[in-house]
């Protein structure tokens, strides 16, 4: 569409077109988000005013008050954060270890196993929902945190990702470590892990986000109120709060807070890392 030389070489007309397109695209992304925020700040009668006001007037914080102090929302959020953090931490460890094995250890059946794992990526979750529930029930872990934490650990995406990160590291690094007297686990722990830090961060963010918004499995596997996670809880507010869109929107806004707090500092970290070329020798 434009010259590939970068913005510096663009003619004013091209530049103007680019800006118009980019602004249009940003609006598509920002407008719905703006309406969620705006809705969360209106009381239920102001929601259906005609003509609608772009900026809520007066600003109404009752939805947030009700959500934070008169609902189970904080508890749901804690459950979600606990599950997502635990899964992310375990995933990063398990997947980097497995990725190291697939990338660097020559064992019989390695390629076959790897292909099988990739194939697992193609099975839609809906197809395994019922068998998975049966297994969880037979193991007696439904209605426990284990039901929320264990199944996501089996997702092979992270192993694939970590393998790709690790496979690019030169073999000589491990060999040097081997001669320096490092054990096999030590090679993984002291040499490989520090060098794939950007990959670990990427994986942690992916897994955390996935668990943060996960809905179907927590809905199916857990019915105990004390274990309800945020997504399930918020969905259940339909009965709890009628069709209070203001309250719903407030929940959506609040749900963004932790993930934003997590993402921004980490984003800086992994962008900086990949630029400094920690993987380069």
């Amino acid at each position: 569409m434009f010259h590939s030389m970068g913005p510096g070489r663009w003619s004013p007309a091209e530049r103007a077109t680019a800006y118009v397109l980019l602004i249009a695209l940003s609006l598509v992304l920002i407008v719905p988000f703006y309406f969620v925020v705006a809705t969360s700040l209106r009381n239920s009668t102001a929601l259906f005013e005609y003509p609608p006001k772009l900026i809520p007037d007066p600003l109404y914080f009752g939805n947030f008050e009700r959500l934070l102090f008169h609902s189970e929302f904080p508890h749901w959020m804690l459950n979600t954060l606990f599950v997502a953090t635990t899964v992310a931490a375990l995933k990063v460890f398990i997947d980097s270890l497995a990725g190291y094995a697939f990338a660097k250890i020559d064992f019989r059946g390695r390629n076959g196993l790897f292909i099988l794992m990739i194939a697992m990526l193609m099975v839609p979750f809906g197809a395994i929902l019922i068998p998975l529930y049966k297994i969880a029930r037979d193991l007696g872990i439904t209605n426990t945190y284990l039901a929320l934490i264990l199944p996501p650990l089996a997702n092979p995406l992270g192993i694939f990702l970590m393998r790709q990160f690790i496979v690019g590291l030169p073999k000589d690094l491990e060999n040097a470590a081997r001669l320096d007297g490092v054990s096999e686990f030590g090679i993984y722990w002291r040499i490989i892990l520090p060098l794939v830090k950007p990959g670990l961060v990427v994986l942690a963010v992916i897994v955390f986000t996935e668990q943060y918004v996960s809905f179907l499995w927590p809905l199916v596997s857990v019915s105990d109120k004390s274990l309800t996670v945020m997504t399930v809880g918020v969905a259940g507010m339909r009965s709890f709060g009628g069709t209070n869109y203001g309250l719903w929107s407030a929940a959506a806004v609040m749900a963004l807070v932790p993930i934003t707090l997590l993402f921004f500092p980490l984003q800086r970290q992994f962008l900086a890392r990949s630029i400094s070329g920690a993987l380069k020798q």
């Binding site: 030169p170 000589d172 690094l173 060999n175 040097a176 470590a177 081997r178 001669l179 320096d180 007297g181 490092v182 030590g186 040499i191 520090p194 060098l195 400094s276 070329g277 920690a278 993987l279 380069k280 020798q281």
Partner: protein
């Protein structure tokens, strides 16, 4: 290094073991034989260079000595002890890798101290050793820097330092200079050699660069296709190559080879091929019509006026001025022969010249391309 005669040395080995001894080392991958029956004894403090083209098995051999790969047959002895079943860290050898293999996430200081730390060295001992190795290699100012902040030469020195600090039985170096630019390579080559003289450690050095091999080695081991072609000092390998491979691989420009046969009767024998030359009586009596290859080094050929008696005649195809000397390519009966001459403008392109091959500097190889010795 002076080499003690084999039987005497074998008796001595009980008292002063070879630093490294290889007995019939073989490495086979499913269909390919990477190394076949390699036997070699390396004396303490000796600098041995494994020389060969890429894929000749020299790096594999080094990895087998280090324990990073298993051999499919044969024995490796390090300091007189059978090492086949020892893990790399138990072998007491240190390796310098082609791409340095410095740990990118550690400073120079941590990189240098790492082997000691992993062997349970106390903090103050490690710090002292790091300081002394850094001083030896002039890295003291770089200790707090990361590998990516160092120049190629400095990285190379850190890699060396990491090997030296352990005080191992032997250093194994896998083309350590090949990632450096030409100028730095020459400089590091002499630094490495000086370091070797000072530290006096057994070194096995792998390279495909014959100049590196010839300048550094006490002994050169020429490998091709996983088979040792020749073991000897630079002089031996250069002046008495065991076969045509060694003859052409060692020396630049390479030795001129002419395929041909022996003709004539005893006393009057000649070599006949692209050139025709009398063979003096120092050659063993080869029957007439034997297929042989004649070899002659470019610097041994004399460039003469075209009508000189007993000189071959050829046409100058190319004159390459390399500064101190000229490489003159001469076409003789369809074959190119390179002459190395120190006098400039000895010949011009297109000119007809005479070439004389001094009888003393001729090499003959038999039909199997093995050296025929003069008596």
């Amino acid at each position: 290094m002076t080499t003690t005669p084999a039987p005497a040395r074998a008796a001595l080995a009980a008292v002063i073991p070879y630093a490294i001894e290889l007995v019939g080392v073989t490495k086979r991958y499913s269909t390919v034989t990477a190394l076949s029956d390699i036997s070699l004894e390396i004396e303490p403090a000796e600098f041995v260079v494994l020389l060969g083209p890429s894929g000749c098995g020299k790096s594999t051999l080094l990895k087998i000595i280090a324990g990073l790969e298993d051999s499919t047959g044969g024995e490796v002895y390090i300091n007189g002890k059978l090492a086949n079943y020892l893990r790399p860290k138990e072998r007491d050898v240190a390796m310098v890798f082609q791409n340095y293999a410095l740990y990118p996430h550690m400073t120079v200081e941590t990189n240098l101290g790492f082997p000691l730390k992993m062997r349970g060295g106390k903090k103050d001992v490690v710090a002292r050793e790091v300081a002394s190795v850094a001083a030896l290699l002039e890295l003291t100012d770089q200790l707090k820097r990361y590998p990516e902040q160092l120049s190629g030469g400095q990285r190379q020195r850190v890699a060396l330092g990491r090997a030296i600090i352990r005080d191992p039985v032997a250093f194994l170096m896998d083309e350590p200079l090949s990632n450096l630019d030409a100028l730095l390579r020459v400089q590091m080559r002499s630094e490495l050699l000086k370091l070797h003289r000072r530290v006096g450690k057994t070194t096995i050095y792998v390279t495909h660069d014959q100049v590196e091999a010839m300048t550094m080695a006490d002994r050169i081991v020429v490998l091709k296709g996983g088979v040792i072609q020749q073991v000897g000092s630079t002089h031996e390998v250069y002046s008495r190559p065991a076969n045509t491979f060694v003859a052409t691989f060692v020396g630049s420009p390479q030795m001129n080879l002419f395929a041909g046969r022996v003709e004539g009767t005893v006393g009057e024998r000649r070599f006949s091929g692209a050139v025709s030359l009398p063979l003096d009586s120092n050659w063993p009596s080869l029957p007439s019509d034997t297929s042989v290859t004649l070899g002659v080094r470019p610097e041994d050929i004399e460039l003469l006026p075209p009508d000189t008696t007993d000189a071959a005649t050829g046409t100058v195809e190319l004159v390459e001025d390399v500064g101190a000397e000229d490489y003159v390519s001469v076409a003789i009966n369809g074959q190119t022969c390179i002459v190395r001459t120190s006098s400039h403008q000895a010949a011009e392109e297109g000119e007809t010249v005479g070439l004389r091959f001094p009888p003393d500097s001729l090499h003959l190889f038999d039909a199997d391309r093995m050296r025929i010795e003069r008596s």
